[in-house]
Amino acid sequence: MAQVKYSKEHEWIRVEGDIGVVGISDYAQQQLGDVVYVELPAIGKKVTKGGEAAVVESVKAASEVYAPVAGEVVAVNDQLTANPALINSSPQGDGWFLKLKLANKGELGDLMDEAAYAKFVAGLS
């Protein structure tokens, strides 16, 4: 069964085998507001844990999307380019950003599970 983990920067990663699908949480999309532009990395780009993986822009501001764990980008969600609003309407479904081939699965242990993340968000007021 795929496990979903969350970073304190509000990215999620759903791991299937050695591939992780990465996106931003519902809380993050609510904070951003209407997403109008996304910049996705090149396939093959190597990202470090906590390093910049993508850019997401709302009407108001640009924000970085950080890689929750290290890895190599093996796929990006091209649908977001034409329809960035998918990030608002389906942040943990059709609004995924990219797929990473994980460099070190052990890093997943540093992330929060669903319950811990819900608690973390509740504490942010």
């Binding site: 507001g33 209407d34 532009y37 910049e39 709302s58 009407v59 108001k60 640009a62």
Partner: protein
């Protein structure tokens, strides 16, 4: 120290909370950046119907005295002595170096001038007025009044229902009237590029009048986020971003706000530089910039030529909901300021093509009768 302890609140603060507004610090006030509908929907609703903005953080002042208009002319390049009764003008306080201290609206109300200035500048503006013309002019800050902006093509239908005399006012004119019994100062003006009104009302009546306006079927609340994207599409300057003490009115492409008579007579702060720039042209100019791709170019984005040499920087930029893509304005050196010129915007270290375009991005729909 928390923000809530240090920020001022407008008389509509409780209403913003009741409407689910997302409150953020702005110019010393706790203001709604958006409501639950979001910036995009609020922006589009303003262009399609009517939006209500709380702009009570802005400063309102009354200048009284026989010489008030002449005295104001010593601080700004407008023709205030020639301003017709119940007419409103946009103008600028300039400094001795020809930079801009603030931009403001002034109305000839007969026995006084009514001024509306920016929130972030209001304390300095009032101090400046008192120091420079306080001996001749009685200056009263109207801190007891709130300010609402009702903007959009259906604003007139709303006012026709609630205050019929307002429906026939022309753009940049003034009237008084009553909304739900509250004494209002109305100007047919705004800062969105749409037809609409700015409505000054006593603080005590502000929430009642705002609720009355919001109860009209055309009207929805809009926050500062939509106000910013609307004014950007309308090509209007935001003080502290597109204009400041380092930019002259000529560089800012606001020469239209320098009255014809004042070009001949001068007599306003910084006239030497400003009149020279009018005659010889400025070294740099505020222009509209249309990115060719989809990436928004935000404030401080470097503008360079095809060889990477600096031309200037973006002073306001983002996504234009009505345009449906990125829009920006900024300063470029005069040689690169021609409409149609190609430039590069350096966003996240990558130069991206853009064009200099005429402002505004969205054609204004002011009511001129």
């Amino acid at each position: 120290m928390t923000a809530a302890e240090t920020l001022s609140r407008t008389p509509l603060h409780a209403l913003h909370q009741a409407l689910g507004g997302k409150l953020v610090p702005f110019a010393g006030y706790e203001m709604p950046v958006q409501y639950p509908a979001g910036i995009l929907a609020e922006h589009l609703h303003c262009r399609a119907a009517a939006a209500l903005f709380d702009v009570s953080h802005m400063g309102q002042a009354r200048l009284e005295g026989a010489d008030a208009a002449a005295a104001l002319e010593t601080l700004a390049p407008g023709d205030f002595t020639g301003l017709a009764l119940r007419h409103t003008r946009y103008s600028l306080f300039t400094n001795e170096e020809g930079g801009i201290l603030d931009d403001f609206m002034t109305t000839n109300c007969g026995d006084h001038l009514f001024l509306v200035v920016n929130a972030a500048c209001k304390a300095a503006d009032i101090a400046h007025l008192r120091a420079r013309i306080g001996g001749k002019v009685r200056i009263t800050e109207l801190a007891d009044r709130a300010l609402l902006a009702l903007q959009g093509p259906q604003a007139v239908a709303v006012m026709a229902r609630l205050l019929p005399a307002a429906a026939t006012m022309k753009f940049m004119t003034f009237a008084t009237g009553k909304l739900d019994g509250a004494e209002c100062f109305l100007t047919r003006s705004g800062y969105t590029g749409e037809d609409g009104y700015e409505i000054s009302i006593p603080n005590a009546a502000a929430e009642r009048v705002a609720r009355l306006l919001l109860a009209q079927p055309e009207v929805k609340p809009a926050g500062l986020g939509a106000r910013d994207s609307l004014r950007l599409e309308a090509g209007l300057c935001l003080y502290g971003h597109d204009i400041d003490t380092a930019t002259s009115p000529v560089e800012a492409n606001l020469s239209w706000a320098i009255a014809k008579r004042r070009r001949a007579t001068g007599g306003f702060p910084g006239a030497a530089r400003i009149l020279k720039e009018l005659a010889d042209g400025p070294k740099r100019l505020r222009v509209g910039i249309q990115p060719e791709g989809r990436a928004p170019a935000r404030e401080h984005t470097p503008i360079v030529d095809r060889n990477g040499a600096t031309l200037g920087e973006v002073t306001s930029g983002g996504f234009g909901p009505t345009v449906g893509g990125p829009v920006a304005m900024g300063y470029v050196s005069a040689k690169a300021a021609a409409v149609g010129a190609t430039v590069q915007l350096v966003v996240r270290d990558v130069p991206r093509p853009a064009r200099v375009v005429a402002l505004p991005f969205v054609k204004p729909r002011y009511y001129r009768g």
